[in-house]
């Protein structure tokens, strides 16, 4: 046997499955024998979590695109990538360059790729319709925290806090954060971990104070805590008059517990604030993030946005730097027929919110070209699907939640004729504008944080809580996302263990189940404004009364929690929705 047959090469890069951007190692072996490896990070040991391990599977994923799909004459044909590029370029030339062509780039691409695609849009396509897609909740949280001057905390900073205030379930979004938070909580008697989460998630299980408020009441409770603790900072005037007593009814939680949390914040020597909201868990994540960050700023502490996108911070800063338009603007223009062509890099828009609006708008386009590593739902309606390399096959700069920059390196080449986003853009540019160049140089200034607005102007209506629309209705609330790969296939698992992994399970309080006359029912039909879903019924007393808790991937991909486009910002909005449940009709 040749020794090179079993040669194993060890490579290291960064994991972009969440905003912690951990070090990741891979031992590249023949065929599908690659294994994860663990970079020597000293005592930190925050290497690869359950999500990061999935990289190994993606290295040899059977569905990876190695050529392009081109649609024509009612058929979809697999062709070489250069033929796919030519088909897209020909269509672009027919449509002509200008602002009727748009580009949407996935926020998990490296900063250089995002800046390069912005330049491609401006110089080659002669358009100002460049957009960066960041998960709506991540976008809102970054806008909220970016409006304050609160310091960004890393894991080491968190470990030395005496009071940590977490909103949502950050242990599920960023599992490696747990060690630092646990260290902080256990460092000294009296240290507090205050968790504001309507559901009992992983973080809440470790809390010293769990404020299980009504879904959507996170903002109003934070306002009371900020006001009572004297930590409202720039928002003092806007939050004036809110006390634990005045918000207790709205929050559905005892005033004494809210006051106790406020006293802990008041006495904090070092306050760490973590925002780990699930997509759609609350109607106004921007206000929640804004108040939380203002508290951190006022107390001289720091804020940690636990985001689902690896390079969300970098993408947000690049989008600010190049004055990118929100994806909602392109969606509206596509729906109205103003936008004729759309190039999408790395994002399956039909898998995200609000699915029905996207689907209707995209069907109006004369050209829809998408670049994806694995074909998605959008490929079915796209004129061309180009093979895209994944982040571990790309190079560039990423920024983690603490604002630290790091370089990712390519673990291996993209498969077949697949290419990176910049590679595909350059190939299209060579066809439609041969004289153009796409040399991108990012400066440090481009990646600096910019203030995203005036705090008081950005505060939403905190009292406008979503609630069941009528009697007999429930509030559908998504559980936090917790991607894992322990069963060998990436699952978007619910917080509560494997029972809900990948399966459409809805959890409801046993008393609600009994009251609704659905006790003993196996499957619910859940009806919302945007459609219906069939979900396996589970009674669970960890779910508050009046709430139907659903794994976030079920909630988001069904499009039920999509609430359209925010007219002011053009951002996509999600939030809890009112639903009615009935027993699934039995087949005849």
């Amino acid at each position: 046997m040749s020794s090179s047959f079993m040669a194993v090469e060890r490579r290291e890069s960064k994991c972009l499955f969440c905003s912690a951007c951990c070090d990741i190692g891979v031992r590249l072996g023949p065929a599908a024998t690659s294994q994860p490896d663990y970079p020597a990070t000293g005592d930190g040991r925050v290497g690869i979590c359950g999500r990061g391990h999935y990289v190994v599977e993606l290295l040899s994923h059977p569905q990876r695109l190695t050529g392009a799909y081109v649609s024509g004459n009612g058929k979809k044909e697999l062709v070489r990538t250069d033929e796919g590029i030519r088909a897209v370029s020909t269509r672009l030339k027919e449509l002509g360059m200008g602002s009727h062509i748009g580009v949407i780039a996935d926020g998990n691409l490296p900063c250089e790729a995002l800046a390069g695609l912005a330049q491609f849009t401006k110089d080659v396509l002669k358009s100002d319709n460049f957009s960066v897609y960041i998960a709506p909740v991540d976008q809102a949280v970054l806008e909220g925290t970016g409006a304050t001057q609160a310091a960004s905390f890393g894991l080491t900073d968190l470990a030395s806090c005496d009071v940590i205030l977490a909103v949502g379930d950050p242990f599920s979004t960023v599992p490696v954060m747990a060690k630092s938070v646990e260290d902080a909580r256990n460092a000294q008697r009296g240290n507090r971990l205050i968790v504001i989460d309507s559901l009992l998630g992983r973080t809440a299980k470790y809390s010293t104070d769990h404020l299980a408020v009504k879904p959507g009441a996170e903002g109003v409770v934070l306002a009371a805590i900020a006001n009572e603790s004297g930590a409202a900072g720039e928002l003092s005037e806007a939050l004036k008059g809110r006390t634990a007593t005045s918000v207790a009814d709205v929050a559905g939680f005892p005033a004494a517990a809210i006051s106790s949390a406020a006293q802990a914040v008041k006495g904090a020597k070092k306050l760490g604030v973590i925002i780990g909201l699930a997509e759609g868990a609350t109607d106004d994540p921007r206000s929640v993030a804004l108040i939380a960050a203002a508290m951190a700023e006022a107390k001289g502490g720091g804020v940690v946005p636990a985001l689902s996108y690896g390079n969300a911070v970098g993408a947000f800063r690049v989008a600010q730097s190049v004055a990118a338009v929100p994806p909602g603007k392109l969606l509206k223009e596509a729906a109205s027929g103003t936008l004729k062509g759309l190039l999408v890099f790395g994002k399956d828009l039909l898998r995200d919110f609000p699915a029905d609006e996207w689907a209707r708008a995209l069907k109006n386009l004369h050209l829809l070209a998408v670049a994806l590593p694995i074909p998605g739902r959008i490929s079915d309606i796209a004129n061309a699907t180009l093979p895209l390399g994944m982040w571990f096959e790309d190079e560039g700069t990423v920024i983690d939640f603490s604002g630290a920059r790091s370089e990712i390196v390519s673990l291996m080449d993209p498969p077949g004729t697949a290419a990176t986003a910049m590679g595909l853009a350059a190939a299209i540019a060579a066809e439609v504008a041969p004289a153009s160049t796409l040399a991108v140089e990012l400066t440090a200034e481009d990646l600096m944080a910019r203030k995203s607005g005036e705090p008081a102007d950005m505060l939403g209506n905190l009292d406008n809580l979503a609630g069941p629309a009528e009697s007999g209705a429930y509030l559908l609330v998504p559980c936090q996302s917790s991607l894992n790969s322990y069963d060998g296939w990436l699952t978007l698992a619910c917080t509560w263990g494997s029972l809900a992994d990948g399966r459409p399970v809805a959890r409801i309080h046993p008393a609600d189940l009994a009251e609704s006359g659905l006790a003993g029912v196996d499957t619910f039909t859940v009806a919302a404004e945007k459609g219906t879903l069939e979900l396996i019924a589970k009674a669970d007393d960890r779910v508050p009364r009046g709430v139907l808790a659903v794994p976030c991937h079920i909630a988001s991909r069904s499009g039920l929690i999509g609430k359209g486009i925010d007219d002011a910002s053009g951002a996509l909005r999600t939030g809890p929705v009112s639903v009615k449940i009935t027993e699934k009709a039995k087949a005849e």
């Binding site: 290497g47 979590c49 999935y54 242990f171 747990a178 060690k179 322990y486």
Partner: protein
């Protein structure tokens, strides 16, 4: 030939720190060519990893009719992949229920403490990858010195299930 001694170090889970993220299960899955050996105990309050205790007098070794279960030079009880016929005798023999059937390969999954890594002086994958340091690879005596009780191979506080 004298019989090899059991390995003194065990994988021990501190459920005060485990957040049920199942990273250990992922690490085991990919480290053992899709035949994982880390199981998960689902209980009303917690779900935590259940890992082979590497028994002193291992019933799985005695139960195996084809000598696929054996103790190696390092003292690790492991399964010889090509000898295993998937009869599941070891599954029934295991007093802790930590050996599981592998329905894909018609064999069983058995923790070998990542022998390939042990020989390089490294810890098992589940321990190295644990994001919260809930898992440790240590001797029971070391753990007891820290004032923690060892209950069924796991380290807990005053109550075996409920966290402190």
């Amino acid at each position: 030939m004298a019989e090899t001694q059991e390995i003194k170090k065990k994988v021990i889970c501190n459920i005060d720190r485990c957040i049920e993220c199942k990273t250990c299960a992922s690490a085991c899955f990919y480290g053992h060519q899709l035949t994982p050996a880390v199981g998960y105990g689902e209980m009303p309050i917690v779900a935590s990893p259940v890992i082979c205790r590497q028994c002193e007098d291992a019933p799985c070794v005695a139960a195996c009719p084809v000598d696929a279960m054996a103790r190696d030079d390092q003292g690790v009880v492991h399964r010889k992949r090509f000898l295993c016929i998937g009869c599941t005798s070891c599954v029934y023999a295991c007093p802790f229920g930590v050996i599981d059937r592998d329905l894909s390969f018609h064999t069983v999954g058995k923790c070998d403490l990542c022998r390939d890594r042990l020989s390089e002086g490294l810890e098992p994958r589940c321990v190295t990858s644990c994001p919260t340091n809930a898992l440790s690879f240590a001797e029971y005596e070391e753990v007891e010195k820290d004032g923690l009780m060892v209950i069924g191979g796991r380290v807990a506080g005053q109550h075996p299930i409920k966290r402190r």
